[in-house]
Symmetry: C2
Subunit: 352 residues, 2 copies
């Protein structure tokens, strides 16, 4: 495990994304987003993604600078085509658009097509909260088009969904409340990590290809392949219902891809963002007063045994952030080597 | 257990609610809503509520015919004051208002104050789907005002929330998809039923007043009182995050009550409904095509052992409905006697 300073990682990301052909503004978005996720301790969505993105630029899965096109629009809604630009860049454009719309329409919703990996959904809803709006977000990864669906519906023994996250962010006078959850029991990343470390998974996370519960992570990649269960353990029908909500909000509402041929075997995220202006409801100041009261009310709950405190969503990540800003960001050997190798493909030596 | 025909229950509800002073249109809404929940097999939200509502009318907790007032409004949003009319009547007015707004604004949201028990949230989002909109819904019951909060935040040992349900409904060419979940592990109704039957609860549902896991339902009413855990078992932080979303969407966004004194010890629901027009996104016909494809895609999933099929949310309730339409609605002795006693208080003999 190395620990790398934020400054150094910022320089690495900037040079690599510029070498990938991203424009200056896009380089900044990509760098900020990956570093922010690493700072918050959400390492799967942090700087280690750099290597993945480099290869996807090289094979044209990601198309830097692709036009951001509004396909259909009303004052409060839009369907956009992101042309497979970097998903993080597309997500920023989508957030900007829904913020602009909600600013005059009070509530607005934007959905997207041909969007590449948008990474951490919490970051995108937080953009809405940073502008004073309540943000709701949903991401459905393409399932029918080449990306193997890995999450089973409740009662099924084959995957039908991606991990279909949903998220929200709430503006306050202080820092926003940010909540981001997968509607599945776990992620492929976690299952693969268990395989690498020869560990078993907790009960209730996955099932094998026959739909039998298993704790062996290898069963996910057996023949027939297993699947991740919907969130909720014995009450997984609730997680299934939430996964379906995400599928409909982010996938179905955005419509079929404009060019199905282009999407064949093309990994795609669909991002749906809703922004709501508290000023148009109880009023901004009242909303902030009440949100502050609610935060205190919750934080003051006496803790249960085994817990030190009750926290608002996003609090623990922010503490990690404060620490990592000072101490630097830990990156494991494998992740660092992957970054190094990928960067060299676009002529950058990250150890220089 | 009695089985009572829908026709007879319809007559009972109509006579009782009319005797409570509900206007003709309100009687019809109340009767339809209670019978529909009973037909769907959601008996806790069905005709047995009649007795509760009668007593609440008699003690003026419910105020039949109270004006429905728009406190604040834009073309796409509203905050309404329901004046503690029957919650089911208020919910219908709220649904009608958000449908009207979404019809011209493409997406709309209405939140409410001083709303009495709205009962089954799924019914209200379904109204939006019946009108061709995607419906999202949230209900926060008053917590600060007299109604003991029963659901703990993650890591806490005191209740802070109600069961804070969330729901959605999706229009299709056929019947809508309707999903309605509590963000808590269980309901007080279920805990009380376990006490009556001297049963234990499954593990992970509640904790005692010291925050220790327990399966003894009596611990919920111990000294200090216990609490229901947020949905999710070992991953209950997710249920906590969803409970907080509901609290913010339905409670905070609606603002503090206009008249805090009036709300002192006054049970209150806050209902938030969002309606979205698929026509303004991918287009209605395309949306229906894709929703149909998605339904088939999910329903065709081979079942896991112990399951006969994969169903869309709302399917099982609809099968119960078809059966009960023919066979009648089962009501236990206690529920029937409660109805009989309550009805007699407004001069109606339900056995006549």
């Amino acid at each position: 495990m190395k620990t790398v300073s934020v400054e150094r990682l910022r320089s690495i990301c900037s040079r690599v994304f510029a070498a990938c052909g991203a424009a200056a503004g896009e380089v900044e978005i990509l760098t900020d987003e990956l570093i922010e996720s690493s700072l918050l301790g959400i390492d799967t969505h942090g700087v280690v993604l750099l290597s993945q993105y480099v290869y996807e630029v090289l094979d044209r899965t990601i198309r830097p600078g692709a036009p951001f096109t509004i396909l259909r629009e009303t004052p409060s809604t839009a369907v956009v085509d992101c042309g497979f630009d970097f998903g993080l860049v597309s997500a920023r454009r989508i957030a900007d658009l829904v913020i602009r719309k909600a600013g005059s329409a009070h509530i607005a919703c934007v959905v997207s097509q041909r969007t590449h990996h948008v990474s951490r959904l919490g970051s995108h809803v937080q953009k809405l909260a940073d502008s004073g709006f309540i943000g709701l977000g949903y991401v459905a990864a393409s399932t029918q088009y080449g990306h193997r669906p890995i999450v089973a519906p409740w009662g099924g023994r084959e995957g039908r969904f991606s991990t279909n996250p949903l998220a929200y962010a709430v503006p306050t006078r202080d820092l926003p409340i940010v909540f981001d959850m997968s509607t599945a029991m776990t992620s492929q990343g976690r299952v693969r990590a268990a395989i690498r470390r020869s560990e078993t998974l907790p009960e209730g996370y996955i099932q094998d290809g026959e739909g039998r519960p298993t704790t062996d992570p290898n069963d996910l990649y057996g023949s027939p392949p297993g699947s991740i269960l919907p969130f909720g353990f014995a009450l997984g029908h609730k997680g299934y219902g939430l996964a379906l909500l995400t599928e409909i909000m982010a996938g179905t509402l955005a419509g079929r891809a404009v060019d199905p041929e282009d999407l064949q075997d093309h990994y795609s995220n669909q991002l749906c963002l809703i922004a709501m202006d508290p000023e148009s409801f109880c009023g901004r100041e009242e909303f902030y007063d009440l949100a502050a009261e609610l935060s205190v009310y919750l934080s003051a709950t006496p803790p249960a045994p085994g817990f030190e405190e009750v926290v608002l969503p996003g609090t623990l990540e922010r503490r990690t952030r404060a620490r990592r800003l000072v101490e630097g960001i830990p990156i494991d050997e494998e992740g660092w080597n992957n970054m190094k190798k990928a960067a060299s493909r676009v002529g950058i030596d990250i150890e220089a």
